[in-house]
C-alpha cells in the first residue's frame, strides 16, 4: 500500500510541474493574444535574400 503514497506523491509532483508551466505561460503573456500567433506562423521568410544581420 505504501507504493500508493509514493505514486500519489509522484503524480502530484508532475501535476505541480504543469501548474508551474501554466503560470509561467500566463505571466509571459501567451494568453494576451490568441489570434496573431496563428497568423504569424504562416509567414515564411523565403524572401530574405539580402544579407541578414538579424540576431534572432
Amino acid at each position: 500500500m505504501s507504493a500508493m503514497f509514493l505514486l500519489i506523491g509522484a503524480s502530484l509532483l508532475v501535476a505541480a510541474g504543469f501548474l508551474f508551466a501554466f503560470i509561467k505561460a500566463v505571466k509571459s503573456g501567451q494568453y494576451e493574444d490568441d489570434y496573431t500567433p496563428s497568423v504569424r506562423m504562416l509567414f515564411d521568410d523565403t524572401t530574405d535574400k539580402s544579407k541578414e544581420e538579424n540576431s534572432k
Partner: protein, 806 residues
C-alpha cells in the same frame, strides 16, 4: 525575385497596393503595376527596396488607402520629452519599447508588414502585433530612430499610430483578463485533482472501502488543493459580494460567496472530524465553471474603447509660437495667451481668438452642422472645430479642460455609473431566489432539529451548498456571453453584459441626424439654374478639385468623369467664400451667393453658386443622403418604440424627415440641449436609447439608458457610449433590438432548468440524504446542461431573427 506582371488595362483597373479602383487617369505606374496614388506607390517601392514583396502574395491588394490619408507630419510632438515619457513603456537609455495603437490594420498582410518594420529601418529591433487589440509593440534603438520617425515610418506604410491624450492616461491601467486566465487555470487544476482524489470515495461502497490512511491523505490533499480556489480563484466573488453588502444591497455574487464559504467550512469540519470527505470537488467545480462563464462574458471587443472622452479627440500637442521660435506643446499644458498655429485639417484644442485674417472652420464634429463656418480676425473660436484652409494663428483663451466643449464632460451624466444604477431583472430574480434558499435551509434545519438534532446542521448546509445560485449565475453569464457574441458578429458591439438588458428594455429611441441617419461623406448634389454645357461641367469639376473645402470635394467627385484632363489656370481661393479660376480663357467662380453674385437668402441646405465670365449660371444644392434603409428601419421600429429626432443641424430637411419621423423632431440642438431632452424623456418614464455619432452627442449618449454610437468604421474614434453600431448594420437595427429583447426569455428558460435541478438537489438535502456523490453529479450536470441550452438557444434565436448579414 519574381513580381507577378499583371496586364494593364483600363477596364477594372485596380491599385496593386490597396485594390482601390479610382479614376484610372490619375493612376501612377511603376514596374508594370498600377497604383491609385503616390502613397500606394511609395509603400510599394519601400517594400520592393527591402525585398519585402511577398507582402503582395499573402493577400490580394492588401494596402489600406484610408489610413494613408492621415497626415504623417503631425508626429513631431512625440519627441517632446514629456510626451514621449508617457508613451514609452520601458527604456534603458539605449533601447526602448513603445506600444502603438494602429486601427488601420485589418488583415494578415498588415500583421506581416508591421512585424517586419526592422527590415525597413535598422533602428527597429523587433515589432510584435497584437491583432485583436490592434496594437504593435516595437522595440527600437533610441540612438538610431526617433519616436517621431518611427510614427512617421508607420504612417508611410499606411498604419499611422493613433495617439491621443486620453490613451496616454489610460495606458497605465493593467488589463484584468490576464489574471482571470490565471484564476481559471488554477481553479481548473485544483478542480481536476480534487475530483481525481474524490473518486475512490464516491465508489467506496461495499468491498472497495479505502484504507483509512489513504482516505485521510486524499481528504487532506483535497483541502490543500481547495485553498487556492477559495483564496485566489474565488476572490472576485467575495470582493463583489462584500461591496454590495456594504451598500445594503444583494447582488448575485453574495449568495454564491455564502455558498462557497458554507461548503468550505462544512468540508473542513467533515475532514477534520473524519466524518466525511466534504464537498470540495463541487465547490472548486462551480468556481471553475463560473469563472469560465465570466471570462466569455467579459471577453468582448478588446480593440474597442467605450470609455473615450474629449481627450481622445484632441491632438496630443499643438505648435505654439513664442519669442524664440515654434515649439510643440502638449495640449494639456496650453496657457491662456499662447499663440497657437493650427494647420489645415487640425483640430482646435482650446477656445481661442483668431489672430489670422480668416479661418474656415468645420464644426461638424461638435454640432453636426455640415457646412463650414468662416470666422474673421478677432472672433472667438470654440474648441473642437477643424481648420479647413491653410494655417491660422490663434490666441488661447482658456485651457483645454475648461473650454466650452469640455464643459459638457463636467455634467454629472458623466460621473454616474450606469451599471450600478440600473438594476436588471436578474438582480430581482436573484433576490427572491436567495431568500427562498435561505428560508428552505432554515426550515430544514429547524425541522430536523426536532426530529434528529445530529442531521439538522447537515441538512441546512446541504441546502445552501446544492441550491446555491451558481446555475442561475451560469445561466445568465453564458446567455449573455453568447448574445454578445452574436450581436458582435452582426455589427452591434455592446460594452458589457449589463447593457443587453438596458438596450432590451428601452421604450424610446432618439436619433441624431448627421452621421447617424445620414451616411457620412455622401451627399446628393442637385443643380438648379441654366443648363450647363459639357465644357462647363468639366471646368467646374476641375476647379472644385483644387479646393479642400468639403463641398468642393463633393462637387469634384460629382463631376469626376467630366473633369479629366482639364487644366485650370490662375486659381485663387478666398477662404470661406469661394474660388476663382480660368479654364480655356473663361473665368469660372464657385462659391457663396455673395461671392458669385447669386441671389442670397433663398438657401436650403448647403449651396454652391457658380458663375462664368461674371454671369451667374446657377447653384448646386447639397442634400444629405439618408441611409437607404432609414424608412424601413423607422417604420419597423415605430410600433414598438417612441421615436424622436434630435439634430444639431439646421432644419433644411425638415419636410423630408417629417414623412419618416412625423413631428417628433428638434433642430439646432446644442450638445446640452440634447442631454436635457433625454432627461425630459426619462422624467416621462421612458427608457431611452440614444443613437448618435459625434462628440456633440456625447452628453446624450451618457444620459440615455443606452447610448449607441453609430460608426462607419468600428475601429475609428467614437464617443464614450454603451454600444457601437457598425453603420453597415443600421438596416438590421430593429432585428438586433428584438434579439436583445428576446434574449431575456433564454435567460429565464435556463433559470427554470436550474431551478428544476435545485429541486432535485434540495429534495436530497432536506431529507438529509445528500452525499458527495450526488453533489458531484448534480453540480456539473446542471452546469453543463445550462451552458448547452443557453448557447444553443441564443444561436437558434439569432438565426431565426436573421440578425447577421446573410
Amino acid at each position: 525575385m519574381s513580381i507577378p506582371v499583371k496586364p494593364i488595362n483600363d477596364v477594372g483597373l485596380k491599385c496593386y497596393h490597396c485594390g482601390d479602383s479610382g479614376n484610372p487617369k490619375s493612376f501612377v505606374y511603376a514596374d508594370d503595376h498600377a497604383f491609385c496614388c503616390d502613397g500606394c506607390k511609395t509603400v510599394y517601392e519601400l517594400l520592393k527596396e527591402n525585398d519585402l514583396c511577398t507582402y503582395y502574395n499573402i493577400e490580394d491588394r492588401p494596402g489600406n488607402k484610408k489610413a494613408q490619408e492621415a497626415a504623417s507630419a503631425g508626429f513631431l510632438s512625440l519627441d517632446d520629452a514629456e510626451i514621449s515619457n508617457k508613451i514609452i513603456r520601458f527604456t534603458d537609455g539605449n533601447r526602448a519599447r513603445v506600444v502603438f495603437s494602429t486601427p488601420g490594420m485589418h488583415c494578415s498582410s498588415c500583421i506581416w508588414l508591421l512585424e517586419h518594420l526592422n527590415k525597413l529601418n535598422h533602428g527597429v529591433i523587433s515589432s510584435t502585433v497584437n491583432f485583436p487589440r490592434k496594437e504593435v509593440t516595437i522595440d527600437y534603438l533610441v540612438g538610431e530612430i526617433k519616436l517621431s520617425e518611427l510614427a512617421g515610418l508607420m504612417s508611410a506604410i499606411g498604419y499611422p499610430p493613433a495617439i491621443s491624450l486620453g490613451d496616454l492616461e489610460l495606458k497605465k491601467k493593467k488589463r484584468a483578463s490576464h489574471s482571470r486566465v490565471m484564476k481559471i487555470g488554477i481553479a481548473g487544476f485544483c478542480f481536476g485533482n480534487i475530483m481525481l482524489m474524490s473518486f475512490p470515495d464516491y465508489f467506496s461502497i461495499g468491498d472497495l472501502e479505502l484504507t483509512p490512511g489513504l482516505r485521510h491523505l486524499f481528504a487532506w490533499l483535497n483541502l490543500v488543493l481547495a485553498l487556492p480556489v477559495l483564496l485566489f480563484s474565488a476572490s472576485e466573488f467575495f470582493v463583489s459580494a462584500y461591496k454590495t453588502i456594504r451598500y445594503k444591497e444583494l447582488n448575485i455574487d453574495a449568495p454564491i460567496a455564502l455558498a462557497i464559504t458554507v461548503t468550505f467550512l462544512r468540508s473542513v469540519y467533515e475532514i477534520s472530524t473524519d466524518t466525511g470527505m466534504g464537498y470540495l470537488d463541487s465547490m472548486s467545480g462551480i468556481v471553475f465553471f463560473m469563472l469560465i462563464g465570466r471570462y466569455f462574458q467579459d471577453r468582448t471587443y478588446e480593440n474597442l474603447s467605450f470609455e473615450r472622452d474629449y481627450k481622445s479627440y484632441f491632438p496630443i500637442a499643438v505648435t505654439v509660437k513664442t519669442k524664440d521660435g515654434e515649439h510643440s506643446v502638449p495640449v494639456s499644458k496650453l496657457q491662456p495667451g499662447d499663440e497657437m498655429i493650427i494647420r489645415t485639417g487640425e483640430l482646435i484644442p482650446a477656445d481661442c481668438t483668431l489672430i489670422s485674417e480668416r479661418a474656415s472652420l468645420d464644426y461638424s464634429f461638435v454640432t453636426g452642422e455640415a457646412d463650414p463656418i468662416s470666422k474673421s480676425q478677432g472672433e472667438k473660436i470654440y474648441a473642437g472645430a477643424r481648420q479647413m484652409n491653410g494655417a491660422i494663428h490663434a490666441r488661447v483663451e482658456q485651457a483645454t479642460s475648461q473650454s466650452y466643449l469640455t464643459q459638457l464632460w463636467n455634467n454629472d451624466a458623466f460621473s454616474r455609473n450606469k451599471e450600478e444604477e440600473h438594476k436588471t431583472y436578474i438582480d430581482s430574480i436573484n433576490r427572491w431566489f436567495s431568500l427562498a434558499v435561505i428560508l428552505t435551509s432554515l426550515t430544514a434545519g429547524v425541522v430536523w432539529y426536532f426530529i434528529d438534532a445530529t442531521v439538522a446542521l447537515n441538512a441546512a448546509t446541504a441546502v445552501l451548498i446544492v441550491a446555491c445560485p451558481c446555475t442561475l449565475l451560469l445561466a445568465s453569464t453564458f446567455t449573455h456571453a453568447s448574445i454578445l457574441k452574436w450581436l458582435g458578429k452582426s455589427g452591434l458591439y455592446l460594452k458589457n453584459a449589463n447593457t443587453i438588458d438596458r438596450v432590451g428594455s428601452a421604450t424610446a429611441i432618439v436619433f441624431d441626424k448627421t452621421g447617424t441617419i445620414t451616411a457620412a461623406h455622401e451627399a446628393e448634389v442637385v443643380y438648379e439654374g441654366s443648363i450647363l454645357l459639357e465644357e462647363d461641367e468639366a471646368a467646374i469639376g476641375a476647379l472644385a478639385a483644387q479646393s479642400g473645402h468639403p463641398l468642393s470635394r463633393r462637387l469634384s467627385e460629382y463631376y469626376n468623369e467630366a473633369r479629366e484632363q482639364v487644366v485650370v489656370e490662375q486659381i485663387s481661393e478666398v477662404v470661406g467664400k469661394g474660388l476663382v479660376g480660368y479654364v480655356g480663357g473663361k473665368q469660372y467662380v464657385l462659391g457663396s451667393a455673395q461671392f458669385t453674385g447669386g441671389e442670397a437668402g433663398a438657401s436650403k441646405g448647403a449651396n454652391v453658386w457658380v458663375s462664368k465670365n461674371g454671369k451667374v449660371l446657377g447653384r448646386f444644392i447639397f442634400h444629405n443622403k439618408f441611409r437607404s434603409s432609414l424608412g424601413d428601419v423607422v417604420n419597423e421600429l415605430k410600433g414598438n418604440y417612441h421615436l424622436e429626432l434630435l439634430s444639431g443641424d439646421h432644419d433644411a430637411e425638415r419636410e423630408m424627415l417629417t414623412a419618416v419621423f412625423g413631428n417628433e423632431m428638434k433642430f439646432n440642438c446644442t450638445p446640452d440641449d440634447k442631454l436635457e431632452y433625454i432627461k425630459q424623456l426619462q422624467h416621462q418614464g421612458k427608457k431611452v436609447i440614444m443613437m448618435g455619432d459625434g462628440l456633440n452627442d456625447a452628453g446624450a449618449l451618457q444620459k440615455a439608458e443606452a447610448g449607441i454610437a453609430v460608426s462607419d468604421g468600428v475601429n475609428n474614434y467614437f464617443p464614450a457610449c454603451d454600444a457601437v453600431l457598425d453603420a453597415k448594420a443600421f438596416e438590421r437595427l430593429p432585428r438586433l433590438l428584438r434579439f436583445t429583447k428576446q434574449s431575456r426569455k433564454i435567460v429565464i428558460a435556463s433559470f427554470v432548468i436550474s431551478v428544476l435541478y435545485n429541486f432535485v438537489g434540495i429534495y436530497f438535502s432536506v431529507t438529509g440524504q445528500m452525499s458527495p456523490l450526488i453533489a458531484a453529479i448534480l453540480m456539473p450536470a446542471s452546469s453543463f446542461s445550462v451552458i448547452i441550452v443557453t448557447t444553443l438557444s441564443a444561436g437558434i434565436l439569432a438565426k431565426r431573427l436573421k440578425i447577421s448579414q446573410n
